[in-house]
Each structure stands twice: as structure tokens, then as C-alpha cells.
């Protein structure tokens, strides 16, 4: 449509009536409609929360049927308006064309008259010459002149006939061309209109689709998020279990190492229990140890402390989370069950 | 066989004893503590020697023996031969007199009955197994068992003295069943 513009403007029609303006207007109208369309899209008081489930999809598009009729009327009105405008443009165009034909005819008449005048002037000149020679060769020339005159007249007639035919032909051609151009233009305009309409509908559809898509997307995302959350929960649970089993493994290792390192004093009895809270570094090295509950026997307490301190490195899981949860700080209870 | 074992054991004991004697002497000398000497009280006691029953010889005339007399003499000889046996053996941790010992013990009892002036000492022993004090009691019980048997068979209580040495005076050295069997015993010592 844009590349049509120069040709149209060359016709010298007033700018406000030009297709460009109309096209702009049309676009504006579309945009307005689109905005109106948007506005209802925007109107829902609250954007649906991200985390909602799929259930929320159905209520959301509800506003559209309410707004749809109004939109339909608008479009009807718009159509009528456009039709009217189009008719007006057609009429104007017809008048213009009539005027143009008249002008053409006038111009052709003028030319013919001018040629006639010239021809008459030439003829008078010739007649003056002939009159002069008439005396000299009037007899002889009479016939010649007569023949020449006759041939000339014939030629003139033929020429005139030719010119008229040509003019007629040109006129017909012009008319056909004009008609053809008009049809093409009309067709193009119709196509453009249709395309615009199509585009508008397409845009609308796309917008709608986008919105639906967005909604669906959101729902999907929410669903995914939920699934992810559940998956994470399951994974966390599995991890928990894994950490627990890891922890048990290392508990057993620590128990074994400490049992080997512990020399219960001979004063130990099965009633004695010493509790030590120990803190480890992530390397497994002992950071600190605190006697939280004494056995009541210094030698026994010392034997426990000495055992705890004797390990250069505690066996701990590689997994940092498991370490942090279970082995960063824990309690060791020394309580002989099987004294020899 | 027994003899050689005994000899060996004795030799060993002797050599160890010699060693021990040397070192002990050294230690004692070192200590030189006042009163140590007075602590040591070596009691002079002729122990460990078994005195075999003596003096049953009387004037015996060989003339004019009747059959009865002859029988009696034979019986007497047999009894005397039986009385040659003065050691009686026991099973582990028992004080039961074995059947084969009965006839001999009866002979001893009869002899004691017919010789009221004859005293006898019953020395009870145990093998080395078990505890010394229990074995001491066990030795005594064995001696008492023999004592009761003798009394039942005619000996008088006053003739009999018992003593237990427990496992302290083994007849045979060694830690084997044969030695133990020979050490679980009661010896009759006639005075």
C-alpha cells in the first residue's frame, strides 16, 4: 500500500481524502479497538498468582463474552462508515473522470481549429501564388492545379480522417486503461482492506491466543512449580533417608573408632556414664569437646575425654549437608556394658 | 620305668634346690636384717620317713606241730605276708576303701586286736590336684575311713592315730595319672 502512495498523490486529490489518510485512520481505529480489547484484558483486578493451579484457567477468560457484542457493534458501525466513505470516493472519482474527458475534447478541438487556421492561411498564400502564376500557366496549371488540388484535398481528407481515427483510438485506449487501472485499484484496495481486516482479526486472534497462552502458560508454570515442589519434597525425603543412612554408617564408624580408643579404667562400673558434646570441623578434626555429664569418677571421665581426643580425624561423610546436620555437633555417651 | 622317672625328678629337684639355695643365701645375706635369723625356726623333726612295723618276733619252736598248729602257722604266715602291705590307694576325691584292700586291712585289724600295745599312725595323702587345704581334709578323711575300718574289725580307737599330709608328701613325683594314683593313699605306720 505504501508504494501506491506516490501515484495516488500524483492525481492531485486532496490529502484528507487520500488512501494514506484513510489507511492511517483505519490503523488508528484498529489500534483503538485493540487498546479497548486490551483494556478488558487488563481490567481483571489482579493478575492471576503464579502459583495457582490449572483450575484457575476457566474462570479467567470469562470477561470476553461480555465485551464481545460491544466489539461486534463497533465493528459493524465501522464497516458502514467505511462503506459510505468508499461510496463518496467513488462518486468523486466519476465526476473527476467526466471532467477530464471534457477537457480533453476541448483541447483537441482547439488544436484542430488552429490547424485549420494555419491550413487556410497556407491556402490563401498558395492561392495568391497561383493567381500570380495563373496568368503564366493558367491553362496548364489549371489542370495540374486541379489535379493537385484534388489530390491534396484527398490527402487532407485522409490525414484528417487518420487523425480523427487516431484520436478516437487514443481516447478508447485511455478509457480502457483508466477503467483497468480503476478496477485494479479497486481490487487492490479491496485486497488491502481485506488484508487489513484479516490482519486485524489475526492480531486480535493472536492477542487472544497470547492471552490464553499466557494463562495456560501460567497455569502450566504453576503446575510445574507444584510438581517441582512435590518432586523436591520427594527428593528431600529421599535425601533425608540417604543422609540418615549415611549418618548411621558414619555413626557406626565413629563408634568403632572410639571403642578402640577408649580404655575404661579399672574403676569403671556399668553404672557409670559420661556424656561428652563434641564439635567437629568439616575436615573431621575435633574442634572442641565438652563434658556435659560426668560419671562421677574422674578417671572414667578422663578416659572418655582422652578417647575422644585421641582420634586425629573423625570418620565423617563427604556430603556436607549430612555432616552439618549430624556430625557438626553431637553427643557421645560412654557407658560400659560389657566389662571384662 | 618308675624308678628312672623318680631318679630324674630327684636329680632335677636337687639341682633346682642347689640353685635356689645359692640365690636365697645371697638375698638373705643382702638383707642382713636384724631378727631374720630368729624368724627362721628349723624344727628338728624326723619326718617323711615311713617306719615299717617292727618286732613281732617271739620264740618259735618248730617241733611237734599238729595239723591245726600247722594250719595256724600257715595262716599266721599268710597274715604276716598280708601285713607287709601298708599302703592303700583311693580314687580321685574319694575316701572309699577298695575291695582288694579289705583283706589286708582286716589282717592289720586282727593284728592290732591281738597286740593291744601296738599303736599305728594312719597317714592320709592326696594327689597334687585340687586345693591344698581341701586335699588336707581329703587326706584326713581317707585316714579316718581306714581308721573306722580297723576299729570295726577289732582294733581299738586308742591304738590309732591319724594325720593328713594332703598333697604335701607325694610318694611319687610327677604330674600324670600313674603318679597321682600312687599318691592318693593312706599309709599305715606302726610304731
Amino acid at each position: 500500500m505504501t508504494n501506491r502512495e506516490p501515484r495516488v498523490s500524483s492525481t492531485g486529490t486532496p490529502p484528507w481524502k487520500s488512501p494514506v489518510v484513510m489507511s492511517v485512520v483505519l490503523h488508528l481505529v484498529i489500534i483503538v479497538i485493540a487498546i479497548v480489547g486490551w483494556s478488558w484484558m487488563d481490567t481483571p483486578p489482579e493478575p492471576p498468582p503464579r502459583s495457582i493451579s490449572a483450575r484457575l484457567i476457566s474462570p479467567q477468560p470469562e470477561p470476553s463474552p461480555v465485551v464481545e457484542p460491544q466489539d461486534q457493534a463497533d465493528r459493524e458501525k465501522q464497516k458502514r462508515l467505511e462503506e459510505e466513505k468508499r461510496k463518496q470516493a467513488d462518486q468523486a472519482r466519476k465526476q473527476e473522470e467526466a471532467r477530464k474527458i471534457a477537457e480533453q475534447k476541448a483541447r483537441e478541438e482547439q488544436a484542430r481549429k488552429e490547424a485549420e487556421a494555419e491550413r487556410k492561411k497556407q491556402e490563401a498564400l498558395a492561392r495568391e501564388k497561383a493567381a500570380k502564376a495563373k496568368e503564366a500557366a493558367r491553362q496548364k496549371a489549371e489542370a495540374e492545379a486541379k489535379a493537385r488540388a484534388e489530390a491534396k484535398a484527398e490527402e487532407e481528407r485522409k490525414r484528417q480522417e487518420e487523425a480523427r481515427r487516431k484520436a478516437e483510438e487514443e481516447k478508447r485506449r485511455l478509457e480502457a486503461q483508466r477503467k483497468k487501472e480503476e478496477a485494479e485499484r479497486k481490487k487492490r484496495e479491496e485486497e488491502a482492506r481485506k488484508a487489513a481486516e484479516q490482519k486485524r482479526l489475526e492480531a486480535e486472534r493472536r492477542l487472544r491466543e497470547q492471552q490464553l497462552e499466557a494463562l495456560a502458560d501460567e497455569a502450566r508454570k504453576a503446575k510445574e512449580a507444584e510438581a517441582l515442589k512435590q518432586q523436591q519434597a520427594a527428593a528431600a525425603k529421599a535425601r533425608e533417608a540417604q543422609m540418615l543412612s549415611e549418618s548411621e554408617k558414619y555413626q557406626a564408624l565413629i563408634r568403632e573408632r572410639l571403642s578402640q580408643a577408649w580404655y575404661p579404667p579399672s574403676s569403671a562400673t556399668e553404672e557409670m556414664t559420661a556424656r561428652l558434646q563434641i564439635t567437629l570441623l568439616p575436615t573431621g578434626e575435633l574442634a572442641s569437646v565438652k563434658l556435659v555429664s560426668s560419671s562421677g569418677n574422674t578417671a572414667f571421665d578422663n578416659s572418655a575425654l582422652s578417647a575422644v581426643r585421641s582420634l586425629n580425624r573423625y570418620p565423617i561423610p563427604d556430603d556436607r549437608d549430612t555432616f552439618e546436620r549430624y556430625f557438626r555437633q553431637f553427643t557421645i555417651e560412654f557407658n560400659p556394658r560389657r566389662l571384662r | 620305668m618308675n624308678l628312672s622317672t623318680q631318679t630324674k625328678a630327684l636329680a632335677l629337684l636337687l639341682s633346682v634346690g642347689l640353685f635356689a639355695g645359692c640365690s636365697t643365701t645371697g638375698e638373705t645375706m643382702d638383707e642382713g636384717g636384724a631378727g631374720t635369723g630368729s624368724d627362721v625356726s628349723a624344727i628338728d623333726q624326723e619326718g617323711g620317713s615311713t617306719v615299717y612295723g617292727g618286732g613281732d618276733e617271739g620264740g618259735v619252736s618248730s617241733s611237734g606241730l599238729t595239723d591245726e598248729e600247722k594250719q595256724a602257722a600257715e595262716e599266721q604266715a599268710k597274715q604276716a605276708a598280708l601285713r607287709e602291705i601298708t599302703t592303700f590307694y583311693f580314687d580321685f576325691d574319694t575316701s572309699e576303701i577298695k575291695p582288694e584292700a579289705r583283706e589286708v586291712l582286716v589282717a592289720h585289724a586282727k593284728y592290732l586286736a591281738s597286740h593291744p600295745q601296738q599303736d599305728v599312725r594312719l597317714e592320709g595323702h592326696a594327689d597334687e590336684r585340687g586345693t591344698k587345704e581341701y586335699n588336707l581334709a581329703l587326706g584326713e578323711r581317707r585316714a579316718n575311713a581306714v581308721k573306722r575300718f580297723l576299729i570295726v574289725n577289732g582294733a581299738s580307737r586308742g591304738q590309732i592315730e591319724t594325720v593328713s599330709y594332703g598333697e604335701e608328701k607325694p610318694a611319687v613325683m610327677g604330674s600324670n595319672e600313674s603318679a597321682w594314683a600312687q599318691n592318693r593313699r593312706v599309709e599305715l605306720v606302726f610304731k
Binding site: S259, A304, F330 | V16, F19, R141
Partner: protein
């Protein structure tokens, strides 16, 4: 709006669940590891040879005595000095890392100084893992009593680590038997617990049996056959004064002291059968404690000083019995085999130790008085005369080595065995003396 509320409540629920999980986790977080068993081996300790200034008498070094004492207890595993990286004698020279690397739990360092006829020992005991000094003292002894000094240090070290009084300064009484000039020779001897500094207290050609220490460690009661039969004597060690306390017809044996040292338990058979009596030493008055056709002997007071343990074959074979008081009904303690005799209880009422026959072998066993559980403590096979150390931690007994009897010390739980140097033939009937302050 309702949807939002629902969503919100969902969130809240989720949050609660998470918080609860966190709570549960935090409850998990305080891990508890329970250690119910200790190392099965002896405690590694480095007894560093003490530095010396001044001339020391010849003989064993003090630190060597300590090392041997601790080894004998069965509870310690001293590091051989040649394996030590350094020989510090003061704290500033102790590099804990080195000792830790050597696997040592404790380090004992010290220095000896002689001044005139006395030697003083300044010593310190360190816990290697805790890097703390747990004992530091200066002790002195006469120059001729370095063994006394060594045993004293052993006692202190032992007590500092185990919480139990050491028994290394106590004495042993035992009987030796050899042959001298073709005749048997019995000797009653008294020595340090490691068998050193032995002194002969009595010598006889007749058997000597069953030495028993008075509670004050000043007297020994024993059975001597010097008169041809078993007679009980009480022997004052300091003066050598001997008293014949029981010379009744039949057996006079198995003396055992009461806690106050004023009376003796003994076995007499004056009435024909071996029974247990209590004799008041001052008056000589006898109280008959058992009356049974069976053998009743080897009586000893229990840890309360009120009841007694003894051996009786009233069930057919010798077994251990206990009477809660002197007039209580005897209760059988041992059931594990046909032969269990010569009970020796500890001083805490936890165990009773005795001779136990299993198959054809005789072992030392003990029974847990609370549970009745019986444990065989020795691997040797002709074991006799168990005697428990006054701290209840060590046990000495006699066992056969070839044809001779030797003394062996084990920890009371049956740990490592330590044979005392036997230098004089048969060594038998050890009696562990009391701790004397």
C-alpha cells in the same frame, strides 16, 4: 477471592509442614553415639627413664621398677625405652605430638636427685591426648629403698589413671619347697609384689601351708607340720615371735583373719570331721560355724566382714558356699563343674575367685556374685591358690611349670599374665598382703 484464600491457606499449611519438618530435623540434629565397649588391650604408657643427678646405687632403675609394676598389672603396656623419640625429664621437654604419634596415652617423666643417704624423685604424669598433667609429686626414700620409691610411684600413677588405689607397695607371702642335703626344705617367704626383696621367715623340713596376712600386714597365720601334724601358728613379722594358736587333734588348718584382726577362721577336725570354726585369738574361744558330715574348709570372710565363703563337698564334690552371717544357712555359689574350691572374694562384693576344674584341668575362675556368671580366667592347667590383690585388680596364683610350681600374676579380669621370677624350685601358696599406709 475464595481461590486466593484457598491458595493462601494452602501456603500456610505448606509453611507449617516445612516448619514441622525443620523441627523434626532439628530434633534429629543432636546425634547421640553410645560407646559401650572399650579397647581390649592394655593402656599404652611411656615410662621415660628418669634423669639422675648424684650417684645411684646399683640395681634396677626406679623407672624400670615402675615400668615392670605397670606391666604386671596387666592394665598397662609400657613403651620400651628404645622406641622413644626423646627422653624428657621435665614438662617443657615433653612433645605431646611425638608421644601421640607413638600411640601413647600417658607419659611419665621424672628426675632423681641424691642428697646424702636419700634419693628424691620429682615426677610428672601427662595425659597425651588431653595434653594435661594429671600427676606431679616429689617423693623420697632412703638410698637403699629405691624399690620402695619405685613401687610408690607406680601406685600413684596407677591411681591417677585408673581411679583405683595401686597395690604395688604391698607384699606377698608364699611358700617355697626345695631339697637341701637330701631332705625337703620348706620356707615361708615374704617379698615385694614383684617377687623382689624376698626374705625367709620360716624354714622347716616339714610342710608349711596356707599363709594368711593379718589386716594390718604385721602378722602371718599359717599351718606348719613342724610338730608332725598340721598346727596353726601366728607369726609376728617384725619380731619373729610365733604363737601356736590351734593344735587340736586332727586338722588345724586354713586360717583366715577377721577384719579387726582379733579372730581367725579355721578348719578343725577335732570332733572327727573337718568343720569351720571361729577362734577369738585373745581368749582362744572357739565357735563352730559348720556342722556337716562333709568336708567344710577354706573359709574366708566376705567383703562385708560379716559373712563367709567356704568350700564344702556336701553336694558330693567340693563347691563354694556362702553364708551371709556366721549363723546363716550356707548357700551354694558354684555350679559350673564338679570341682570348685578355695574361694577368695574381692573387696567390693562383685566377684569370688576360686580353683575350678574343667575337664581334667584346674583353672582359676571367678563368679559374678550378682549375675552368677562364671568366667575361667587362666589358660594354664594346674592352677592353685588364687589370691586377690587388695585393690581387687590383680590376682596371683600358683601354676605348674614343668615339675615345679611358679607364681603368676594376672589382672583380675583374666588379662595378660606376668610370671614372677621363680628362683627357688617350687613356689606355692601366694598370699597377697594388704595395703598398709
Amino acid at each position: 477471592m475464595t481461590q486466593r484464600t484457598r491458595t493462601l491457606s494452602r501456603h500456610v499449611f505448606l509453611a507449617v509442614v516445612i516448619a514441622m519438618t525443620a523441627l523434626v530435623n532439628s530434633a534429629h540434629a543432636e546425634l547421640l553415639i553410645r560407646i559401650t565397649e572399650g579397647a581390649d588391650s592394655a593402656i599404652p604408657i611411656a615410662v621415660v627413664p628418669f634423669s639422675e643427678s648424684g650417684t645411684m646405687p646399683a640395681g634396677d632403675k626406679v623407672s624400670r621398677i615402675v615400668q615392670d609394676d605397670l606391666t604386671m598389672s596387666g592394665e598397662f603396656r609400657p613403651l620400651p625405652p628404645e622406641k622413644m623419640l626423646s627422653l624428657p625429664s621435665r614438662r617443657e621437654d615433653v612433645y605431646f605430638r611425638d608421644w601421640r604419634m607413638l600411640g601413647q596415652r600417658y607419659v611419665l617423666v621424672g628426675e632423681l636427685k641424691r642428697s646424702a643417704d636419700r634419693v628424691s624423685a620429682r615426677y610428672e604424669l601427662f595425659d597425651v591426648n588431653r595434653q594435661e598433667r594429671i600427676l606431679g609429686e616429689t617423693a623420697s626414700a632412703s638410698v637403699n629403698s629405691l624399690r620402695t620409691l619405685g613401687h610408690h610411684i607406680s601406685d600413684k600413677v596407677y591411681e591417677a589413671i585408673t581411679g583405683v588405689k595401686g597395690a604395688f607397695s604391698t607384699r606377698l607371702a608364699y611358700i617355697t619347697r626345695d631339697t637341701f642335703k637330701g631332705k625337703p626344705r620348706y620356707r615361708l617367704q615374704v617379698s615385694d609384689v614383684d617377687g623382689k626383696r624376698a626374705r625367709i621367715r620360716l624354714e622347716s623340713q616339714e610342710p608349711i601351708l596356707s599363709p594368711a596376712w593379718s589386716p594390718d600386714g604385721k602378722k602371718l597365720a599359717y599351718v606348719s607340720f613342724e610338730t608332725g601334724k598340721p598346727v596353726i601358728f601366728v607369726h609376728e613379722l617384725a619380731t619373729g615371735k610365733r604363737t601356736k594358736v590351734a593344735d587340736f587333734p586332727g586338722l588345724n588348718s586354713a586360717p583366715a583373719w577377721s577384719d579387726d584382726g582379733r579372730s581367725l577362721l579355721m578348719t578343725l577336725s577335732k570332733d572327727g570331721n573337718a568343720e569351720i570354726y571361729r577362734m577369738d585369738l585373745a581368749s582362744g574361744k572357739l565357735t563352730k560355724l559348720t556342722d556337716h558330715w562333709a568336708i567344710d574348709t577354706e573359709a574366708v570372710y566376705d567383703h562385708t566382714g560379716q559373712g563367709i565363703f567356704f568350700t564344702s563337698d556336701r553336694s558330693g564334690g567340693p563347691q563354694i558356699y556362702h553364708m551371709d552371717s556366721l549363723d546363716a544357712e550356707p548357700r551354694r555359689i558354684t555350679f559350673g563343674s564338679r570341682y570348685n574350691a578355695r574361694p577368695r572374694p574381692d573387696n567390693e562384693g562383685r566377684f569370688v575367685y576360686y580353683v575350678h576344674q574343667r575337664n581334667s584341668a584346674f583353672h582359676i575362675a571367678r563368679t559374678n556374685l550378682k549375675t552368677g556368671e562364671e568366667t575361667i580366667l587362666t589358660r594354664t592347667s594346674s592352677d592353685e591358690s588364687p589370691s586377690i590383690s587388695p585393690n581387687g585388680r590383680m590376682l596371683i596364683y600358683a601354676t605348674k611349670q614343668g615339675d615345679n610350681s611358679v607364681l603368676t600374676v594376672i589382672s583380675a579380669d583374666g588379662g595378660a599374665a606376668y610370671s614372677l621370677p621363680a628362683s627357688e624350685g617350687d613356689v606355692r601358696e601366694p598370699a597377697w598382703g594388704p595395703i598398709v599406709n
